[in-house]
Symmetry: C2
Subunit: 283 residues, 2 copies
DNA sequence: GTTCCGCATGAATCGATAG
DNA sequence: ACTATCGATTCATGCGGAA
């Protein structure tokens, strides 16, 4: 299987218009957050945020497959002592566009940004808004199952002895079914609260989220060979993870420095991982 | 100090109108959630929820002190495969009333309701919306400091035991300083994510939330002798905790059965804890 | 007196069935 | 077509009896 990644330099609204309808399985992105300071990169003023985002959401709705999913990682900032309302206004407006607001996951940031304020605690969570095009979308829950809670450790300690003996006897006599049942008991389905630490980032560029975040949703909503889109690529975390998980990916980035950085980082990985492999196999 | 609790039977909108302006330090409540079934207790249809709640919120704004806080525990249900939007619409409408939307805490329910569906995971979190009347509100952060790091999990039980003893000893002999100093060394400020399990084992009556939830916010936003209001009292958890923490409390409940149950449960506690004690001290 | 295990029970949600 | 009811699914928690 050949895994591709297409990286585009430019405004995502314009680039998205060049992509075909119904061609993407998952959109995972963390757009530039609203910012009162207008000089910073991607600093959209809170008052203008919804108007700025909506035409882009419309294009995303078009390129997404009917079975696809859009995961929007976002969190409103504090402005003048209040949480801004642009995120919840955006949800209402996107529904008017035709999006279904299927679910809101919570990313619990275990090691949140430090600090202390007299009237506020540290912000340790972000929204992961799930939007869909139709009620019938693809979801592969088994791909993200997690180990069962600690409570089972004490409970199953003694049972495991009996269990092992029974498993052996059953394997020997041809009853293999129950073994898998017991094995499955060690894994359970997760909830809509995702626990991940922010990555204490390395030398290069600070990513908005750790690799574990897009990884979780890519596994949950796509299969190998599907296509993942990040219209606000940034440091390329989504695309890098998609590539590692053998999903095709599309990335769009406005800033040349970011674009070049991701391009140089991503291309060799693809070449090394896939092209030589096929060549060896063919020779 | 004399701690009172006033319990009212009736519709909270009408009862609230009889309470004086600027008289409450904290409103902590969990109103009946929207429900498509119209026959159940408090079954408000999602489409009518905002209109139903707004006049009550207006009265709450009036009775709250300028330094006070309103904590609203709520979570939207799934309707037709989508999350309902009445909660976020309510935030926008309450701001138009004059409320400040200061913060949104997350209650992470570790033991969420079980179940499995093809397109959805278990819902393991609820909103705790913080509204204020002015930007200058009272907040006592030191009262809710938590043990540092995960290593302290096992010690949490012992610490809470110690904490109780400290509270008792404060009342008794007034020496608790050293204990609190020792505790503060290994304590850090919490974040805006609250981890609590639901209480599913109460044989008496099922409360919507565990005692730890109102306890955390009562400690955070009030001092001993302040007044806590729960306009949707239900099983009275808020008032019972307020009483235990030596805060005055006001409770309003529409259903006579709930009202009588809380009344019979709360009154003896007050009499036993405070009135005899003072009498003994005076004699 | 501990530790261990059985059991009931939750602010749930979906899909099928019935009126 | 649209609404109301019901069964099936599933996991962390704490109580109470047992070893």
């Amino acid at each position: 299987m050949e895994i591709k990644h297409d990286l585009y330099l430019g405004d995502c609204e314009e680039i998205l218009k060049t992509l075909p309808d119904n061609s993407v399985d998952l959109i995972f992105t963390s757009p530039p957050y609203a910012d009162q300071r207008k000089n910073t990169y991607g600093g959209i003023h809170p008052n203008n945020y919804v108007d700025w985002f909506l035409p882009k959401a419309e294009q995303m709705l078009r390129v997404l497959k009917p079975t696809g999913t859009f995961i929007l990682n976002i969190k409103e900032k504090v402005v003048n002592g209040e949480r801004s309302t642009y995120v919840i206004e955006l949800i209402l407006e996107m529904r008017k566009q035709g999006w279904l607001w299927t679910e809101e996951f919570i990313w619990h940031k275990k090691n949140s940004y430090p600090g202390k304020w007299p009237n506020r605690f540290r912000d340790a969570w972000e929204r992961l808004l799930q939007f869909n095009k139709s009620k019938k979308f693809n979801m592969y829950q088994e791909a993200v199952m997690v180990p069962i809670g600690d409570w089972a450790k004490n409970r199953l300690r003694n049972l495991s002895e009996t269990d092992k003996k029974r498993d052996e006897s059953k394997v020997g006599s041809g009853f293999g079914k129950n073994v898998s049942n017991w094995l499955n008991r060690s894994m359970v389905y997760p909830t809509n609260v995702v626990h991940l630490a922010t990555e204490c980032n390395n030398k290069k560029h600070s990513a908005a989220f750790p690799e574990g975040l897009p990884e979780w949703f890519i596994k949950l909503f796509t299969q190998v060979g599907d296509t993942v889109l990040d219209p606000f690529m940034g440091s390329g975390t989504t695309n890098i993870v998609a590539n590692r998980l053998q999903r095709n990916s599309i990335g769009i980035e406005l800033v040349p420095e970011y674009f070049e950085m991701v391009k140089s980082q991503l291309s060799p990985v693809e070449l090394f991982l896939f092209e030589p492999k096929e060549k060896y196999e063919n020779s």
